[in-house]
């Protein structure tokens, strides 16, 4: 009987694919949980700490988008094995930060991101940076590269586009550009001093 055999094969394929798909999400979730421990230890020691023995990377920053309730730990490096566990960051010689993440896991939220959105980036040394989304655009990865040497006032997020594509491996990338802003408390002061200034 061929039919039961076929059914068995198809079921096996289905199980395999579901496992693989959930595996991606499980790894992404598990990664963040495991990283949390390493992160708190590295904050205490002000040194990067590997999350587990033989780990290929370690957390270097915490990325938060308060309005969207997003909180991700960012790993060092943006190669494919790293990205399975969490967003990966590379830093250029002048400080240009590039964060890449998978469109179906950690950067899924980019479709809800608006221009002007505030973003907070906590670094290993304890510094807290404030950023603001200034541009979103889609480019063709076959003809466009990222300039690592751009200025340190700039941060770029990269993920695959379209966010809900069925097929993997398309040539398009969504690029989100953020620029560094002053801290909220300084900002408030500026507004106040401006309103007491000379108005026409």
């Amino acid at each position: 009987m061929i039919r039961p055999l076929l059914i068995c094969c198809l079921l096996a394929v289905a199980v395999w694919q579901i496992t693989a798909a959930t595996g991606v999400h499980a790894k992404a979730w598990l990664g963040q949980v495991l990283l949390e421990r390493a992160w708190s230890r590295s904050l205490a020691s002000e040194q990067p700490v590997a999350p587990w023995p033989d780990a290929i990377s370690y957390p270097v920053a915490r990325l938060q988008v308060p309005a969207l309730e997003i909180d991700h730990l960012v790993l060092k490096g943006a190669d494919t094995p790293v990205l399975a566990w969490g967003p990966g960051m590379e830093v250029g010689p002048s400080g240009h930060r590039i964060i890449a993440a998978h469109r179906d896991t950690h950067f899924r939220f980019l479709d809800r991101l608006n221009e002007g959105e505030r973003v907070q980036l906590d670094l290993v040394g304890g510094d807290i940076e404030h950023w603001r989304v200034v541009d979103q655009r889609v480019v063709d990865a076959r003809i466009t590269d990222i300039n690592l040497a751009a200025s340190g006032d700039q941060m770029t997020w990269v993920t695959c586009w379209p966010l809900d594509a069925i097929e993997a491996g398309g040539p398009f990338r969504l690029l989100v550009t953020l620029s560094k802003t002053i801290k909220p408390d300084q900002r408030t002061q500026l507004v106040i001093s401006n309103s007491t200034g000379v108005m026409p």
């Binding site: 798909a21 991606v24 992404a28 190669d79 466009t144 550009t177």
Partner: protein
């Protein structure tokens, strides 16, 4: 950009009305209008580049202009540009940043929808629309603040030929149009307000859409570069520019002409004139271009500058409209025109004269020799004519076409009328069915003449049309027509192609001095010898053109496409239904990427650019390197990381497998139920 403007303006001038004086505007250049939603600002092109390719008598022009959105807001840009009367816009591309957005031909309604949708989605899009027969506007949606937009428009046109000279004109400046009528003020920012300097008027309800601001001569300092590649196919005796200093050189069969942009005076039209080397008889040349797996050929026959056909025997039938609408000055003009035509008859010719109002009344029952006695009788007949009664046009035309042709004579019908009839379609159809070998020339009299009808009649009758608006023009216009009637350079032309080809026009016209003849053909493979035969001054004439010496040239394919569209338009409602014709025209227009009455040109970027309500000022983004390496300052290129874990794809595959399993389990149950049915 100047050129563009110029074009625009020329268009406007042609389109609106020439009468009257410009209203507080000097000639200058058109502007791009930027509409940011709150207000409108205008901006000049920073760079204008013009490339013109001439093949025989066909010119293909590409105008490239760059505009800067120097406002702090996102904007929709719109500019209006005039093009010469007979051009066909056929390509459009918009370059924004480092992306090129190619226009595609779409069905007209669809093009609008595509543009509107793209605009609403915040994508870059561009649309060319026709405001007048020769006035176009281009809209560009979603230009970012500080962004440079480059617009390229390509169009085709025929080169003017007169007195043995070819003439290519490119208007570098444009005069503002005269807007007649009482103004009907519109609220600023309302849909009716086009933003131009003129207010809408009763006569020109869209005046504000077609009157962009102009830059005065002193302000227009932006550079223009103009290049012409000229492939004539025949040796030239002269090539020069009428108003500008040019640089020209000959390179592999074509002339390269450049205009020095820095020194060019943009307020004089660019005019390039060339004259073929002197020839006594017909010159012929063939161009070839391949599209897909089909060859397209263009045959050009160039008449000598002067030609006298002493041996051509003609049989001329003059028809005059003496209906009530011809009363007054019209009938006097018509009589003058007839007398002029009678004077042109030579002793070897034959002629007849028919007048008509409610009924047709012929002077002779059949054409007679042009003897002095017969001519005297004809002149008396003409001088007694009076305008009165109705307009029964079919009867005299049928009579003239039916009366039979004497062998060895070239049959010509000269039809003098004001064209004031209702049943034009019926008359045109009758002419198409029964014209046979006769040539039909139409003479339109007076100001209210139906010129479209007159030229359609002449086209189907392989003749030409002249319009005489005032009495003083009779002499001039009729001498032109008589010159044509008496001296056909080549008639009864036949083309013998070595291969199976589809030829446009289907019926070969005659060749006259003053206008070269173009014939286009399409076939799977065109090679061998083309034999052209005809009659010239009473003698058989023939020429063999080896097709291996084809000059490969751009523009041939597009010319064939346009002629084929014209053929389908002519067939509509006659050999084909309107729907069939419409479908065939859309197919042709899309295959050949041409604008037609049913298609438009639209360009849309495929990537989202911004959300509609985001009015954020976009900053220059040094982080991206497009095209691998056009950098500013330090550059350290890094390829984009792979950012797709592929979980969606896997889930879909799993789902697919489960659905198949479900189908396989359910299928036997379903078929067993089905199988039990017959036993019931």
């Amino acid at each position: 950009m100047f050129i563009f403007r110029c074009f625009l303006m020329t268009l406007m001038v042609l389109a609106v009305q020439r009468a009257g004086f410009a209203q507080d505007q000097d000639p200058g250049q058109a502007m791009l209008w930027l509409d940011t939603g709150q207000d409108r600002v205008s901006t000049m092109a920073m760079v204008t580049d013009i490339d013109i390719e001439v093949t025989g008598m066909l010119a293909h022009t590409i105008i490239r202009q760059q505009f800067l959105n120097d406002s702090p807001d996102w904007a929709e840009g719109r500019y209006v540009f005039p093009l010469p009367d007979d051009v066909a816009v056929e390509s459009l591309s918009v370059v924004v940043g480092n992306r090129i957005i190619e226009g595609e031909i779409q069905e007209r309604q669809q093009a609008r929808i595509t543009y509107e949708t793209a605009r609403a989605e915040g994508r870059v899009a561009s649309l060319i629309e026709q405001e007048r027969a020769n006035l176009f506007s281009t809209s560009i949606a979603n230009i970012a603040p500080g962004e440079v937009v480059e617009v390229q428009i390509g169009y085709r046109q025929r080169i003017d030929y007169s007195h043995g000279e070819f003439r290519l004109r490119f208007p570098l400046s444009i005069a503002p149009p005269y807007i007649p009528g009482a103004s009907t003020p519109t609220e600023q920012g309302s849909p009716q307000d086009g933003g131009g300097w003129a207010e809408n008027t009763r006569q020109v309800p869209d005046a504000s859409r077609i009157t962009p601001e102009l830059v005065g001569p002193l302000e227009s300092t932006n550079p223009i570069a103009l290049r012409v590649a000229l492939t004539t196919g025949i040796p030239l005796a002269m090539l020069e520019s009428s108003h500008h200093l040019i640089d020209k050189r000959y390179d592999r069969g074509s002339w390269r002409v450049t205009l020095d942009g820095a020194s060019a005076n943009p307020h004089k039209d660019f005019e390039l004139v060339w004259r073929p080397a002197r020839h006594e008889h017909v010159e012929s040349t063939v161009f070839l271009q391949r599209l897909g797996n089909q060859d397209h050929a263009l045959l050009m026959l160039i008449p000598p500058e002067q030609f006298a056909a002493f041996q051509t025997r003609r049989e001329v039938t003059l028809i005059i409209d003496t209906s009530g609408s011809m009363q007054g000055e019209s009938i006097e003009q018509a009589k003058d025109a007839l007398l002029f035509a009678l004077d042109s008859l030579a002793a070897q010719d034959r002629f007849n004269l028919i007048e008509f109002n409610n009924a047709a009344n012929a002077l002779f029952t059949a054409p007679v020799d042009a003897s002095s006695a017969n001519l005297r009788q004809a002149r008396d007949f003409v001088s007694r004519l009076q305008a009165d009664g109705g307009t029964e046009m079919l009867q005299p035309l049928s009579q003239a076409m039916r009366q039979g042709v004497t062998a060895g004579y070239l049959p010509q019908i000269v039809f003098v009328t004001d064209g004031q009839v209702g049943n034009t379609a019926e008359i045109i159809n009758r002419v198409r069915e029964t014209i046979g070998d006769s040539r039909l020339f139409t003479v339109g009299i007076g100001h209210g003449v139906n010129s479209q009808f007159m030229s359609d009649l002449a086209r189907f009758g392989r003749g030409s049309t002249v319009l005489i608006a005032d009495l003083w023009q009779v002499q001039m216009r009729m001498s032109e027509l008589v010159a044509e009637l008496t001296s056909p350079v080549l008639h009864d032309i036949e083309l013998h192609w070595p291969n199976d080809v589809e030829v446009v026009p289907e019926v070969m016209p005659d060749l006259y001095t003053g206008q070269p003849l173009l014939v286009a053909a399409r076939g799977d493979r065109i090679s061998g010898d083309l034999l052209v035969t005809g009659l010239s001054d009473g003698q058989p004439w023939q020429q063999v053109i080896p097709l291996e010496t084809f000059l490969t040239a751009p523009g041939v394919v597009a010319y064939w496409g346009r002629q084929a569209i014209q053929r389908e338009l002519d067939r509509a409602g006659y050999e084909t239904t309107e729907d069939e014709a419409r479908q065939r025209i859309i197919d042709l227009a899309i295959d050949y990427q041409l604008l037609s009455p049913y298609t438009s040109l639209v360009a849309v970027d495929k990537t989202p650019k911004r959300s509609r309500d985001a009015a954020l000022q976009r900053q220059d983004v040094p982080g991206f390197l497009a095209d691998n390496g056009q950098g500013r300052g330090a550059v350290l290129a890094r390829a984009m990381p792979a950012t797709d874990a592929g979980s969606f794809e896997r889930l879909i595959r799993a789902l697919l497998a489960l659905v198949l399993v479900a189908l396989m389990i359910l299928h036997p149950i379903v078929s067993r139920d089905g199988g039990s049915e017959p036993s019931i």
